[in-house]
């Protein structure tokens, strides 16, 4: 009996690995083609002079990198800083607004049920169309925002929100906040619901108000989950492209140029594929350097919490 059992187990272990690797094969192929190959290829392109028609035209070593860092280029490094500013700003605002709404939802479940369908709408809207909707809202002629501000007498002439310097970047942020706050709300709401009801009720019976319940019970008990939501939004925000493309195309000047868009323009409008690849490598490195400490912190907090 025990011999038979051990045979099954031994055979089982070998089979288990074989089965598992069989099941993993498509993903491994996918990762090789869609993750490993692009990284190696882009690194290769970055040390060459390349165009769309003729990749790997000539070897130029670190020339592209030198140009971007200490050479004459004045747009790429600012675009990295702008991408970071944008990502942190929207992630903070979305976490703040989303958490606030999630707390409101926990205190009023009936209204919450109604709001759920509304919450899904921005989340499901293609970012290109989010851009279109906000472009129409903010348009100097015919936009609702300008129309209302004018009729309320708050401004004398229409403001070109997407054409003036601080406002263009702020407008992209507003559109992003509109799209992603619902996502944060749903996740934050699920996180808050992991706080046992009886803990909150016990605190209420002891006379704690909503503010102290939030700061002393809900927030500490969910901080590791909220950090995860924050990091997730940060990762996603660094990918912003569609909103820039539709709303401002990087302008006015370069004031809304963020790296994802800059790379696209260098490669596909200026056709300098080698330089775009060097920008890509720097961008990927920059994103990793910014995110790694946060991911490490998240892992530490999660270990601590569990």
């Amino acid at each position: 009996m025990s011999a038979a059992f051990s045979v099954i187990l031994r055979g089982g272990t070998a089979n288990r690995s074989a089965a598992a690797w069989l099941m993993l094969t498509p993903v491994i192929i996918g990762l090789l083609v869609f993750a490993v190959f692009p990284s190696v290829y882009v690194a290769g392109l970055s040390v060459t002079k390349s165009t769309l028609g003729q990749p790997f035209k000539a070897w130029i070593g670190l020339g592209n990198y030198r140009w971007l860092t200490v050479g004459g280029d004045s747009t790429f490094l600012p675009s990295l800083a702008r991408a970071a500013l944008f990502s942190f700003a929207v992630a903070v605002v979305e976490l703040w607004l989303g958490l606030w709404l999630a707390v409101l939802l926990t205190s009023s479940r009936r209204a919450g049920r109604l709001l759920r369908s509304v919450l899904l709408l921005p989340l499901m809207t293609p970012p290109v169309l989010v851009g279109v909707a906000w472009k129409l809202l903010l348009a100097p002629g015919g936009g609702l925002v300008n129309g209302e501000l004018l009729s309320l007498g708050l401004i004398d002439a229409p403001v070109s929100f997407l054409g003036t310097t601080p406002w263009a970047l702020v407008s992209i942020m507003v559109a992003d906040v509109w799209q992603w706050t619902p996502f944060v709300t749903l996740l934050a709401y699920a996180a808050l619901r992991q706080v046992p009801d009886d803990v909150v009720e016990a605190a209420m019976l002891d006379g704690a108000g909503p503010a102290s319940i939030f700061w002393r019970i809900q927030l500490p008990l969910t901080s590791h989950l909220l950090l995860a939501i924050f990091v997730l939004r940060l990762i996603m925000a660094f990918k912003v492209f569609d909103l820039v493309y539709v709303l401002t195309f990087g302008g006015p000047g370069n004031s809304t140029d963020m790296s994802g868009f800059t790379i696209w323009r260098t490669g596909l409008r200026e056709f300098d594929v080698g330089l775009a690849s060097a920008q890509t490598v720097l961008f990927a490195a920059f994103v990793s350097i910014v995110l790694l400490p946060l991911l490490w912190l998240h892992r530490r907090v999660e270990e601590h919490a569990s």
Binding site: R16, A19, A20, W21, M23, L24, P26, V27, I28, G30, L31, A35, F37, P38, S39, V42, L45, L52, W100, L105, A111, L115, R116, V118, L120, L121, M124, T125, P126, P127, V128, L129, V132, A133, L136, L137, A139, G141, G142, L144, G147, W178, L186, Y189, A190, Q194, D197, E201, L225, A228, F238, D242, Y245, G260, W264, L268, V273, A276, T280, A284
Partner: protein
């Protein structure tokens, strides 16, 4: 005990996430003053929720109102109009090949979501339950961190070399594999919730590992597969960056690219643009509203373990 009876006992009631359906917390008995305060608080939070709802609805509502305005009325920048017109609606379909674009988007998105699930579900099971190839899982997740623009140019050269530019199969393959990390991340939560004892019982009864996965786990994963599949479908439907480079041709052009091309078009006015946008979002909104519990369950299953 056969596998069927194990599954037949339906042990996974808690597998389906519920968002707001939980019974309200039992009311705390308190004095009249406290009750008054609670009521004020309730009213305040309902007002707050109303403000948020207004903010989230406004851009979409404005699009709707634009569709009923003439070119001149649009310029007034008002929400309501005195003389609503339906002209934009039929003109938009005339000027823009809307139905074709929406059809391309839906076709590519649906097929790619199916591909994503076929690739991601066994892999998730292998990592989470069979505990093999953890590094594949981590690699998939870390590949999600990289901005997609990283892969744009290399994949452009690859797809051109393979002759997959401007083709439906090309876009299906691209999105199908691109969304695997997301599906893996979402499905992992669902696989973890299936009791390991079920698999172990099947293994001891002599069912192979793949058989166990297909016959025992897959049926139980259906809610997770639906949720993850829908999310991947929506991601593919909404994608723009790759589509703008790989699927420009009219024969495969999807909604997002089509809309972006009308940005500079003088023949398309605000009203028609709004019609095109609304028609384009409609399929996704219908899916979202029909499957809202599944979607929210899927989104939160990954994020909050």
């Amino acid at each position: 005990m056969t596998a069927e009876t194990v599954v037949g006992r339906e042990p996974l009631a808690e597998l389906s996430f519920e968002g707001g359906e939980a019974p309200p917390a039992p009311a705390v008995e308190a004095g009249a003053g406290a009750r008054g305060r609670t009521r004020t608080r309730q009213a305040l939070s309902v007002a707050g929720i109303g403000l948020y709802a207004g903010f989230f609805l406004l851009p979409i509502a404005f699009l709707v109102s634009l569709t009923f305005k003439t070119r001149d009325e649009v310029l007034l920048g008002r929400f309501f109009t005195d003389k609503p017109t339906l002209e934009n609606w039929w003109k938009a379909f005339e000027v823009i090949h809307l139905t074709a674009f929406v059809w391309h988007s839906l076709l590519i998105a649906t097929l790619s979501a199916v591909l994503t699930l076929i690739v991601a579900a066994p892999a998730t099971y292998a990592v989470v339950r069979l505990r093999r190839g953890e590094f594949v899982g981590s690699l998939a997740l870390s590949s999600y961190i990289a901005p997609p623009v990283v892969a744009l140019l290399p994949l452009f050269f690859l797809m051109r070399w393979l002759g997959l530019l401007n083709s439906i199969p090309g876009m299906v393959l691209l999105y199908g594999f691109m969304n695997v990390p997301v599906a893996y991340w979402l499905l992992a939560g669902f696989v973890r919730k299936i009791p390991a004892a079920l698999d172990e019982a099947a293994w001891i009864d002599g069912a192979g590992f793949i058989r166990t996965f297909v016959l025992i786990d897959l049926p139980l994963l259906v809610p997770g597969l639906v949720a993850s599949g829908l999310i991947c479908l929506i991601l593919a439907y909404n994608e723009f960056l790759f589509a703008s480079l790989f699927a420009q041709d009219e024969s495969v052009r999807g909604l997002t690219v089509a809309i972006s091309l009308f940005q500079g078009d003088r023949f398309v006015n605000f009203g028609q643009m709004a019609v095109a946008s609304l028609v384009g979002i409609t399929p996704i909104y219908v899916i979202a509203l029909l499957f809202q519990d599944r979607l929210i369950g899927g989104l939160t299953a990954g994020g909050v373990k």
